[in-house]
């Protein structure tokens, strides 16, 4: 942890402290603490059922954790505000956009309309000015169309703007979801397994896209991903969850050497893994890698 840049309060995007989320008797997140820094790509990894998506849902207000605090300052200069108990759309307005593990586009709308919906949540004109066709409403309509086309262009879907989103290929739907999220002008974007079900070429494009979002648009990225190659190549830092608990946090290099992570992925106890780690450092990486891509293929 000492190798990480010191986190001054102003640079923290998400400050998650001792969050616990239960469903009846099942504890989905157990005393999880992490902080995400502005401008970084933070990856959350862990086996299936580790609580990664529960963490996303807690951060975006879909679930309300029973304990702990989550403070958010999505855009530069924002005051940290608590997201616990806030409505999902409110949190989105605070600058948090997300995609979903199982793609959730609006299938009966075109690609362009999907993105426009994202852009338009930042607009002002109401139903009456729409019914009367007021000039400012028309201007906003033009603005949102232009912005949506630009976003589609950024994710490489400009040529498919008027196709129904349900008719797009799988990888295209994933990118469209990212475009829709970007349309809401976020300070931080949460990507839930964006590479699931995509082929190697698409994965490379996706890595470029995520880096572009991070560097050129200056948007912090929180990423859930099973594909270890992708995670290792783009993540600034990695947080590892297992059975609802955070078991490790650090740079990709640190995580690859972490015995607890190896244990979680290989299903052995931490002591055994630590033993293995000290003897055969090379094996683990391959194991993590192959294991990860297997899970990716399952989807």
């Amino acid at each position: 942890m000492s190798a990480l840049p010191a986190a001054s309060p102003a640079e923290v995007v998400f400050d998650v402290n001792h969050v616990t989320l239960r469903f009846g008797g099942v504890t989905s997140l157990n005393n999880v603490s992490l902080h995400m820094l502005r401008g970084e790509i933070l990856a959350v990894i862990g086996p299936n059922g580790a609580g990664k998506t529960s963490l996303f849902n807690s951060l975006t207000g879909v679930y309300t954790p029973q304990e702990g605090s989550i403070m958010l300052a999505a855009r530069p200069g924002d005051h940290p505000t608590s997201v616990i108990g806030q409505k999902t759309h409110k949190i989105n307005h605070l600058g948090v956009a997300r995609t979903f593990q199982n793609i959730r586009l609006f299938p009966a709308l075109t690609a362009l309309e999907n993105v426009k919906i994202g852009v338009e949540t930042r607009q002002k004109s109401g139903p009456i000015s729409a019914m009367l066709g007021m000039p400012w409403q028309r201007r906003e309509e033009r603005d949102s169309t232009r912005a949506a086309y630009e976003l589609l262009d950024q994710v490489g879907l400009a040529g498919r703007a008027n196709e129904l989103s349900a008719s797009l290929a799988y990888g295209e739907q994933r990118r469209l979801e990212i475009a829709r999220a970007l349309g809401t002008n976020p300070g931080v974007i949460l990507l839930d397994e964006p590479a699931a079900g995509t082929n190697p070429a698409e994965k490379r494009d996706l890595a470029e896209l995520i880096k572009g979002i991070n560097v050129e648009l200056g948007i912090s990225v929180l990423l859930i991903e099973h594909d270890m190659k992708l995670v290792m190549s783009i993540a600034t830092r990695i947080v590892v969850l297992n059975f609802g608990e955070k078991i490790a946090e650090g740079t990709p290099a640190q995580i690859q050497r972490d015995p607890a992570v190896v244990a979680a992925y290989l299903g052995t106890s931490a002591e055994e893994a630590s033993e293995q780690a000290s003897h055969q450092p090379q094996v683990r990486l391959i194991d993590i890698d192959s294991h990860g891509s297997e899970e990716g293929d399952q989807l």
Partner: protein, 747 residues
């Protein structure tokens, strides 16, 4: 032994299907006709319906359906040939004209069978009439249908031309026999049977020609229609309009006091030297024909040459023609009223359909000019410029501009019908148009916002209709509690108040209940609808006047500067008031559908979680849907109260809420034209069936038709673009191959 044989029969799909089809025939036999049991013999209906010779026909129908399904692969190559489906639809049209429609209003129940038996009992008729109504009508149809079918099978062009000629002859014979009979019986006649039959015969003729001459193995119906209608923008409208106007000017009735069907030229001679205004005299003499010719030539040229300016000029000439026709109609009917023809009390009485038909035709011609003027040259140019090539280019390869032109043409044709059809209808149908069709179309448009766009199931929609009605009754002082004197309003001024009250009621209902989903929301709204009705019955604070309701609600009036319009007991003026209201609502809602809120509704309907994560305030968006839908219902309530003049809680029962929902679903959820078409068709159908089936059976037939429709077209009559995609998923893109095959293949 018999049991293995029985089992093998039972497992044979052909046998099972035959049994099902025969059972269907028996069910149809039970439905068809007016058999009724009695208290002493409850099986009477059954014996009458099933144990009678007529069962053979129904069983034969079952066998026919069975054979069609079972041997479909062998039938299919013929059915997809050019002309097959036009032939079927033409025969069905002629059959409908012969069995369902009126042929002479002066005879009995006026349907063909009644006319036929009356003709048989009457001597001294022209031989053509006796022969046609005696046997020629069915023998002719049979011969024409068989010849056309033979053409489809043999593909001989000579046979096709003979069948086509015979078909047209049959249609014209029907027309002549009908008009000869009318001359004999006299009186005003509104029957449309012969004209529909003629249209059917023309379709059969086209089918026979296509079957005999087309080189195609598989009919490219869609491409052909697209090529036919898309050849030149607006030309179909011009042609149809010109034909209608020619008919109106040449032979339709313009003025008919004392049942004296006067055509245009008869009217001119009748009014000679009576002091008719010179404009009307000129119109009757030559101006009518000249404006028709000028408008048709100008718009036709504009359409052919794709000339914008010419199109606008033609449209203007058409509009002037409509105005001239209306002035003429006013002048002759006003003069007729001054002379107390047929005890007329004012203008616009004793008119025939001719003048209105001329207006309709000229309006269509003008619309063709508008379409020609506003269609960009590139939209349907290029590859589709030549008619033959355009027929061969599949419709899905065409520019999107063609679709837009088609929509615009349809909208203008619809506007022409909405404006000029009602005056031609009988008083009965005018009343139906206003108090059934019009009001429920408006309600369906409102409910479509809630159910179709926002995806919220609302079973208490009629409550807002009630709130609108009672608001009106209160504000005009028709309830026991009077409004403060400064707020005593004329009915139309109650509209904004009704809108506000319904907005508030919609929010009050929505705010606590919108966290419920699906079925739960439906039950709560159902309860709300009943609560409002029961409050009205319980008469709290002597406000609603209990079960007696409000009486003597005044009819609407407009006094705006020099404009004075009053509505009375006639239905027709209300129709135009409704058209204005619905037109405004449609314009506003069309914009709304394509706005930020419209898309937000679609998003919440499709995936609420994703919509919220994208920043949409789902609760607010749903509340807006409730409020906007409710206020539309409130406007309908104002109209209803002031048109009918009395309201009571019985007007607002649960049944009406369910009916409106059925209209929206039937027409196509989320589609404005669909909701309107659904309401129009399903309010028209019961009135139409009054004539066709025993009154006890009416609801059963409506149910059967709705069921059939939902099986064959689950997305509704005119499916919404967005909903259609949702229902059909990725299979939405169909090829010409699959569209040529009917849905029944899946049986």
């Amino acid at each position: 032994m018999s049991s293995p044989t029985f089992n093998s029969f039972r497992k044979n799909p052909l046998v099972v299907r035959l049994v099902v089809c025969l059972a269907g025939g028996v069910v149809l036999a039970l439905m068809w006709g007016s058999q009724e049991g009695s208290t002493t013999d409850s099986a009477h209906a059954f014996t009458e319906a099933v144990l009678a010779p007529r069962i053979v026909g129904f069983l034969a129908l079952g066998v026919l359906v069975w054979a069609l399904i079972s041997f479909w692969p062998r039938v299919r190559p013929y059915v997809v040939r050019p002309g097959a489906w036009p032939l079927v639809s033409g025969v069905v049209t002629v059959g409908a004209a012969l069995f369902l429609m009126h042929w002479d209003d002066q005879v009995g129940n006026a349907k063909f069978s009644a006319v036929s038996s009356a003709v048989a009992d009457t001597s001294g008729l022209a031989p053509l009439v006796t022969i046609y109504f005696g046997w020629l009508y069915w023998v002719g149809l049979l011969i024409v249908a068989l010849l056309s079918a033979a053409t489809i099978v043999t593909r001989r062009s000579l046979l096709g031309w003979i069948a086509a000629a015979l078909s047209v002859v049959m249609g014209v014979l029907g027309l002549i026999a009908h008009s000869t009979l009318l001359d004999f019986t006299g009186g005003i006649d509104h029957s449309t049977g012969p004209f529909v039959a003629l249209a059917g015969y023309v379709v059969i003729a086209a089918a026979a020609i296509a079957a005999g001459t087309s080189p195609e193995q598989v009919a490219q119906s869609r491409a052909f229609m697209a090529g036919l209608f898309g050849w030149r923008p607006g030309l179909p409208l011009v042609v149809v309009g010109a034909l209608a106007t020619i008919w109106a000017l040449a032979s339709a009735t313009w003025f008919s006091p004392q049942n004296s069907n006067l055509t245009l030229s008869d009217t001119r001679t009748t009014f000679e030297g009576t002091g008719l205004s010179s404009l009307a005299v000129q119109y009757l003499a030559w101006l009518g024909w000249v404006s028709l010719a000028a408008a048709a030539v100008l718009t036709g040229a504009a359409s052919y040459l794709r000339h914008r300016l010419l199109g606008w000029i033609g449209a203007l000439v058409g509009a002037v023609g409509v105005v001239l026709t209306l002035i003429t109609l006013y002048d002759i009917s006003d003069l007729g009223a001054q002379n107390k023809f047929n005890s007329a009390t004012g203008p616009w009485q004793n008119l025939g359909i001719g003048g209105w038909l001329a207006c309709l035709g000229l309006f269509l011609i003008g619309s063709g000019g508008v379409i020609a003027a506003i269609t960009p040259k590139s939209a349907s140019g290029g590859a589709t410029a030549e008619p033959i090539r355009s027929v061969l280019v599949p419709s899905r390869l065409r520019a999107a501009g063609d679709t837009l032109t088609q929509y615009r043409s349809l909208a203008l044709a619809g506007a022409a019908l909405v404006l000029f059809y009602p005056p031609m209808a009988t008083l009965f149908w005018q009343k139906v148009l206003v108090i059934e069709v019009g009001v429920y179309v408006l309600l369906a448009i409102g409910l479509n916002v809630v159910v179709g766009w926002a995806g919220l199931l609302d079973l208490g929609f009629i409550a807002f209709f009630a709130i609108g009605s009672y608001t009106t009754a209160f504000l005009v002082g028709a309830l026991p509690r009077k409004p403060p004197s400064w707020l005593h309003l004329s009915p139309l001024l109650a509209i904004p108040f009704a809108i506000i009250f319904c907005l508030i009621a919609g929010v009050l209902l929505g705010a606590p209940t919108l966290r419920l989903r699906g079925d739960y929301l439906a039950i709560v709204t159902l309860g709300f609808g009943e609560i409002i009705r029961i409050i009205a019955i319980n008469n709290p604070g002597n406000f609603t006047n209990g079960p007696r309701g409000a009486t003597n609600i005044p009819h609407p009036v407009i006094h705006l500067g020099p404009i004075h319009v009053t509505w009375g007991l006639d239905s027709l003026p209300y129709w135009y008031l409704l058209v204005v209201i619905i037109g405004i609502v449609l314009l506003l809602f069309y914009r709304l559908e394509n706005s930020r809120l419209g898309r937000a509704w679609a998003a919440v309907r499709e995936d609420e979680v994703a919509a919220q994560a994208t920043g949409i305030n789902a609760t607010k968006v749903k509340l807006l849907a409730f409020a906007i839908g409710a206020s539309t219902s409130g406007v309908a309530g104002v109209f209803f109260a002031t048109q009918v003049g009395y309201i009571n809680p019985d007007n607002f029962v649960l049944n009406n809420s369910i009916l409106v929902l059925a209209y929206v679903v039937f027409g196509g959820m989320g589609s404005l034209p669909g909701a309107m078409a659904g309401a129009a068709v399903l309010t028209w159908l019961p009135e139409f069936l009054k004539d066709q089936v025993p009154s006890d059976d009416r609801v059963m037939w409506i149910g059967a038709i709705v069921l059939l429709m939902m099986i064959l077209r689950p997305a509704g009559l005119i499916p919404a673009k967005r909903r259609k995609a949702e229902l059909s998923g990725l299979q939405g893109t169909s090829s010409a191959e699959t569209t040529a095959v009917p849905a029944s293949e899946g049986l």
